[in-house]
Amino acid sequence: METPVPDDRTFYEELIAPIESQMMRSIWRVVRHPELAEDALQDALAIIWRKRDLIRRHPNPRALVLKICLNAACDSLRKRNRFLPRQTDSLSAQGQDISDPSDVGRQERKRLEDEVLKAIARLPKKQAAAVLMRIVQDQPYDAIAKALGCSEVTVRIQVSRGRARLSRWLSHLRPGSLKEESR
């Protein structure tokens, strides 16, 4: 690793430290497994370090950092779905610490979470990032547009299409079922 220039020393304090919690939570909300979340964060940090100059110059660096975290989380999700389809349940169960088989409600909730995550993993990368930034992170469209490097209109279209696809794929789920179970 090259010796950091003075700007690099302040990079963390200025840009990462204020959004540490948001970064971790963004990744967790998609990955939902401690080890995979740790790996996804590691990947995201590697990309952040490599693109630190770009991030510094970016009009909305925090949105870009969060987008990188979301992308790393989505990549982890896709890899898990692609390479470890049989381990998903056990990994998820480990992450959620569902050890009591009698806890049917929690297991049912886990199953529904997995279905949602699989649906998100099926979305195109940019569309998934737009949907998650908008719906999960509650970011404004203009911030998403800057983070994704496209126009606000494009983001709206991506979010709309993403919503429509998810709605189609998840139409079998009973609306509000998760809310009822989580109460």
Binding site: P4, F11, Y12, E20, R25, R32, L45, L173, G176
Partner: protein, 302 residues
């Protein structure tokens, strides 16, 4: 601004609820540790030397600190592109049956060496040599490798044997049956200017193989698809000759050699001056072939 259309399923609610913010302590601890390492790496880079193989590979494939050329070489996308490109080129070359110059050169050389080895190992052979007619008179030769160390060459004009050359264990004898003369020579060098000069390079397996290895320059090897024969092409610039050797690829022995003059214009063959047809069988000795021992003494009449 266009209002977002409500969907049959409350996707926003479903996503927010399914992906709710419930970061567990263990996951937070793990990620905090990663962030602390990252912060430490930025602030104290010297304390994090890349020593383990995993870090080495990580550095290789996250090569911010590599020179641009090395970075390109070890860039994953570049490697993937290169692999696909090489596969495509390989498939294309396979499809069109193209062979590289290097591969062709190696094949030519391998075939030539195999043929020379097969000739060296052969014990007997009969070869009919047709020469281009000179001033209307045509002289042909029949070369017979009777056994190792024993060769007989007949010069024929108008279908009649005029002279016979015998080589037995280094002893060279020329017999003129018409004049009943026999001449003995110490070596082949002494008959360089004789009527046998055109076939001196074919008098024994060792001589022919030596010519192939040392005197003739190998040009190329060609083989037609499905054929059991191939053609080796040689040039002998010293004597201005172009040689085409048709080879049986089952035995790696020559079937025919055609010798032409080398064209000064295009470097290829001009008119054919000599053709040798080989038969790799034991020569028939029952046709009144005389052995030198039955002849009279050196230079004497029969």
């Amino acid at each position: 601004m266009k209002k977002e259309k409500p969907l049959a399923v409350d996707i926003d609610g479903l996503l927010k609820d399914a992906l709710h913010d419930d970061l567990p302590a263990e996951a937070e601890r793990r990620m905090q540790r990663r962030l602390a390492e990252f912060k430490g790496m930025i602030e104290r880079p010297a304390q994090h030397p890349a020593t383990s193989p995993a870090r080495f590979w990580q550095r290789l494939f996250l090569p911010k600190d590599r020179p641009s050329a090395v970075r390109w070489i070890f860039n994953k996308q570049a490697l993937a592109f290169l692999s696909i490109f090489m596969l495509a080129v390989g498939g294309f070359l396979q499809a069109i049956g193209h062979r590289s110059a290097l591969a062709e050169s190696l094949t030519s050389l391998r075939t030539s060496v195999s043929v020379a080895d097969s000739i060296r190992q052969s014990g007997f052979m009969e070869c009919r040599v047709q020469m281009a007619a000179k001033e209307g008179v045509r002289s042909d030769y029949v070369i017979r490798w009777i056994q190792p160390g024993m060769t007989r060459v007949d010069v024929q004009k108008d279908g009649e044997v005029r002279e016979t050359l015998w080589i037995t264990n280094g002893e060279v004898v020329i017999v003129d049956p018409l004049k009943n003369l026999r001449q003995k020579f110490a070596s082949l060098k002494q008959i360089q200017d004789s009527v046998f000069q055109p076939v001196l390079g074919f008098l024994s397996p060792a001589l022919l193989a030596e010519n192939m290895d040392q005197r003739w320059q190998l040009e190329r090897f060609e083989q037609k698809t499905g054929s059991h024969q191939g053609t080796l092409t040689f040039t002998n610039h010293e004597k201005g000759l172009f040689l085409k050797m048709i080879v049986d690829l089952d035995t790696f022995l020559p079937v025919q050699i055609s010798r032409s003059r080398l064209s000064a214009e295009h470097g290829g063959p001009a008119e054919e001056v000599m053709r040798l047809d080989f038969t790799w069988n034991q020569p028939d000795l029952s046709q009144g072939m005389m052995l030198p021992e039955t002849l009279g003494k050196n230079g004497s009449a029969l």
